[in-house]
């Protein structure tokens, strides 16, 4: 699994609300001093996850998956300065880069001729005030915590949708379930994760 053997993975917050975990620190070292040792640590942890994400859903070959790992990690290097630990965790930040790169990769393989990159679809919205950021971080923690208690059938569908990149309709066909069942499981899960509750 992805647990860190040194056990330094669990994040903690200092009273100033600053996130202090290993991966956020790595990103800050990369941004601040182009620290290659930090980049290497980051690569060894996230590279295998990015590759697993690339291979989930079996739409990409192993060599294309390696290409995706390279692409994502180069973006990590280039964009580390834009990472804001007060806004999101390092893994959320990497996940969104990996998702965007994977979608772009699918479109390249389908020979889409488009002026848009997935980064245009998910722009970095820099209008957030400190209060909104703190709020966002807290709900991120809450989602992470509540995920642990989701029933297996809901987790399975979320994994299909998010990790394998399947539409609700494709997930329904693969699991041999009615579309309505898939949609209601996704909705139930999202309700349990309190994603639509504003507090």
């Amino acid at each position: 699994m992805t647990d860190n053997p040194e056990g330094t993975r669990t994040g903690s917050d200092d009273p100033g609300g600053r996130r202090t975990d290993e991966w956020s620190e790595c990103l800050q070292l990369i941004a601040g001093s182009q620290d290659r040792a930090a980049f290497t640590r980051f690569f060894r942890h996230f590279g295998p996850l990015i590759k697993a994400f690339a291979l989930a859903g079996s739409r990409l070959s192993a060599s294309v998956a390696d290409e995706l790992v390279q692409e994502v990690m180069l973006k990590v290097w280039q964009k580390a300065g834009g990472f804001n630990p007060e806004k999101a965790s390092a893994s959320t930040w990497v996940y969104t880069i990996a998702r965007n790169c994977r979608t772009d990769m699918f479109r390249r393989l389908q020979k889409f001729d488009t002026p848009l990159a997935e980064e245009d679809v998910f722009p970095d919205r820099e209008n957030e005030e400190p209060f909104a950021m703190l709020h966002g971080r807290r709900s991120e923690e809450r989602v992470r915590e509540l995920m642990k208690s989701l029933p297996a059938d809901q987790m399975q569908i979320l994994a299909k949708v998010y990790m394998e990149g399947k539409s609700h309709a494709e997930a329904a066909a693969e699991l041999d379930l009615p579309l309505g069942t898939v949609k209601s499981r996704v909705r139930l899960a999202i309700q349990k994760l309190q994603i639509q509750i504003d507090r």
């Binding site: 889409f112 966002g136 992470r144 994994a159 990149g165 999202i190 994760l193 639509q196």
Partner: protein, 217 residues
């Protein structure tokens, strides 16, 4: 402040990166006007991140690490000047598709009160167009052969179900019939994304149907 939003299913597929490009672009434009959906989307993305962290890692060789390290010098870090994002402006994604601003577009006149400007997203299954309805003007009653997303960019319009203003997001399903009318005070510009052509239902306009081919791509 938008009052009509994409449904949760659509926001989820969007956050997971699974929507067709043309629809994803529409949801993205809506979020430009809607902080509530921005927040929901951020949480839906942290849900994805949580699944990502839990993946069983696939081995990545040192050769790959070394080839990335060797390329770092060619990929200088980007500098992050704070962007001048603001809620009122034409969304950046649209500016990119229009290669300019609303005033630079070429409009094709369909009826006396409706002009259309087609934008190219590259998505082979969806037509992505801007509609300009003159103030108080009406789009002849039509039905949808497929799905239609409408998003108001400027002005507003109403139909039998309600009145829609800037940022409002509507998803019409096949068979929904309506006759949108722009508000009296100003022209209405909206984004319309279709996966099948419209069909006018009134006898005066039915002759136009063969000309309303889907302009996807």
């Amino acid at each position: 402040m938008a009052n009509f939003h994409p449904e949760l299913d659509l926001l989820t597929e969007h956050a997971a990166g699974n929507l067709p490009l043309a629809q994803a672009a529409c949801v993205s434009v809506h979020m430009n006007y809607c902080e509530q959906c921005q927040r929901t989307s951020a949480r839906l993305q942290s849900l994805g991140a949580s699944l990502f962290e839990g993946l069983q890692g696939e081995p990545v060789g040192d050769a790959l690490l070394n080839s990335v390290l060797a390329r770092l010098d060619d990929e200088p870090p980007l500098s992050y000047a704070r962007s001048d994002w603001s809620a009122g402006k034409t969304p950046a994604i649209l500016q990119r598709l229009m290669s300019g601003d609303l005033t630079d577009l070429v409009w094709k006149k369909i009826t006396s009160s409706l002009s259309i400007s087609y934008l190219k997203t590259g998505d082979p299954n969806y037509e992505f167009a801007l509609y300009n309805i003159k103030a108080g003007g009406k789009i002849p009653e039509h039905t949808h052969c497929g799905s239609e997303i409408t998003l108001v960019l400027e002005g507003g319009f109403s139909d039998a179900d309600g009145t829609y203003h800037q940022g409002d997001f509507l998803l019409r399903q096949p068979g929904d019939v309506h006759a949108p009318t722009a508000v009296q005070s100003e022209d209405c510009i909206c984004l319309a994304v279709l996966d099948a052509p419209l069909k006018f239902t009134g006898w005066q306009y039915r002759w136009m149907n063969p000309f309303l081919k889907l302009r996807a791509g």
